[in-house]
């Protein structure tokens, strides 16, 4: 997944893909935490994610917490309706900044 990270206007854009489930969440977690460690603002692009379960969402929560501790931002881009319903169920829509697409997210950053 290393090609999934690129730099745009000084931010790191991480693209997650496919199904983030119990099997793939550890990989996503490592990728997210590695990005946060670089002390830049992180945009997590979920537009290519077809399904994300609680283990994937937990990894996003942990990465957000790490970012806050470092004084950087982590926001989500293109959260699918399926994922959004799960976010709302646990009130996570109150915790994450969620943007409809990358342009909106980058505009929000500046």
């Amino acid at each position: 997944m290393s090609e999934a990270v690129r730099e745009v206007n000084g931010n790191l854009v991480v693209s997650l893909t496919g199904e983030i489930d119990l099997d793939r969440a550890p990989e996503a977690r490592r990728l997210l935490l590695d990005c946060v460690k670089r002390s830049k603002d992180v945009l997590v692009d979920l537009s290519a994610v077809t399904y994300i379960d609680s283990s994937g969402i937990a990894s996003l929560v942990e990465a957000l917490q790490w970012a806050k501790q470092r004084g950087t931002d982590l926001c989500l881009v293109a959260v699918s309706p399926q994922a959004l319903r799960v976010f709302e169920l646990a009130r996570l829509d109150k915790v994450f900044a969620i943007h409809p697409d990358l342009d909106a997210a980058l505009a929000g950053e500046n």
Partner: protein, 294 residues
């Protein structure tokens, strides 16, 4: 996707069924207690299994979750025949199934958070921090945030149920089984549990099988209802169909529900002594969030 069952609620969809029971016979010793059971549950459907005391609801549920093996017939969950599947396939299947049993069945020696994390420890190799966050997310979902450090003995009846639900859904199961979710709870708490069941289906598109003898709860949550009578399926129909049924035995079940209702000793004693419901449940009084909407 949650609307699948609304399209044709009384029509049996067998192509993509998440539960498919065929020709099931069950015995305790020589005595047959389930006869010729055929049952399917569609993706995203809430199927309620009803019936009077002794009609075979719990026995059917034990077969559905693999605690009992049928003397004949098959039980397929998510496409896997659990009466024949090899151990490895069963292990994979168990990650996709949640069970919330009567009484909660929490381990009394573990706090709430550890109880909820248990399936994750058993079935995954996730990082400890990921497991904790997953468990805390589910505590939020069942409206038990802040209870993670409590021991089961410190919980009210309604809180135990909700902790058991949190544990049952901690791995986002595709299929969830509930045994008597509202047994022994006062009406406000059991109604909140019904709302939670509906919310889980709505947000996570879970397929849910609920065993209950509470008619009101069944009518509120069910897409379809299977009525058991003396170990046989009397009918499978949607709520409207059950309500307007002129089958004498179904009418009997509807009308005699107060007499038939199983009641736990505590609730009955409360009723006899005229004690107000929440006060009869010492842990529920005042401080702990129990009756609140989930």
């Amino acid at each position: 996707m949650a609307a699948v069952a609304q399209e044709t609620p009384t029509q049996t969809r067998t192509d993509d069924a998440v539960v498919r029971i065929q020709g099931l016979q069950a015995h305790y010793g020589a005595r047959q207690v389930l006869h010729d059971i055929e049952l399917t549950v569609a993706p995203g459907e809430i199927m309620v299994i009803m019936g009077g005391s002794g009609s075979g609801k719990s026995t059917l549920l034990r077969h559905l979750v693999g605690l009992m093996r049928p003397t004949a017939g098959s039980v397929e969950l998510l496409g896997v025949d659990i009466t024949r599947a090899p151990a490895l396939e069963m292990q994979r299947l168990r990650r996709r199934i949640g069970v919330a049993f009567q009484g909660g069945a929490l381990f009394s020696s573990m706090n709430v958070l550890d109880n909820i994390m248990l399936p994750l420890r058993e079935h995954t190799q996730l990082d400890r921090q990921t497991m904790e966050i997953m468990a805390r997310l589910k505590l939020e979902v069942v409206n038990l945030a802040g209870a993670e450090d409590l021991m089961p003995a410190e919980l009210s009846g309604g809180m135990v149920k909700r902790a058991a639900v949190a544990r049952a859904i901690v791995m986002d199961p595709a299929l969830l089984f509930f045994d008597e979710p509202s047994a022994g709870l006062d009406p406000a708490v059991s109604s909140a549990l019904d709302d939670l069941i509906l919310k889980l289906r709505e947000a996570m598109n879970m397929s849910i099988v609920v065993v209950t003898h509470e008619l009101e709860s069944a009518f509120k949550i069910a897409d379809r209802i299977t009525v058991l009578d003396q170990g046989r399926i009397l009918t499978v129909d949607d709520v409207a169909g059950i309500r307007r049924s002129d089958n004498a035995r179904i009418q009997n079940l509807l009308n005699r529900r107060a007499e038939n209702a199983e009641v736990d000793a505590e609730t009955y004693l409360r009723r006899l002594t005229g004690e107000a419901a929440p006060a009869g449940d010492p842990q529920a009084a005042g401080t702990k969030q129990d009756a609140g909407a989930v």
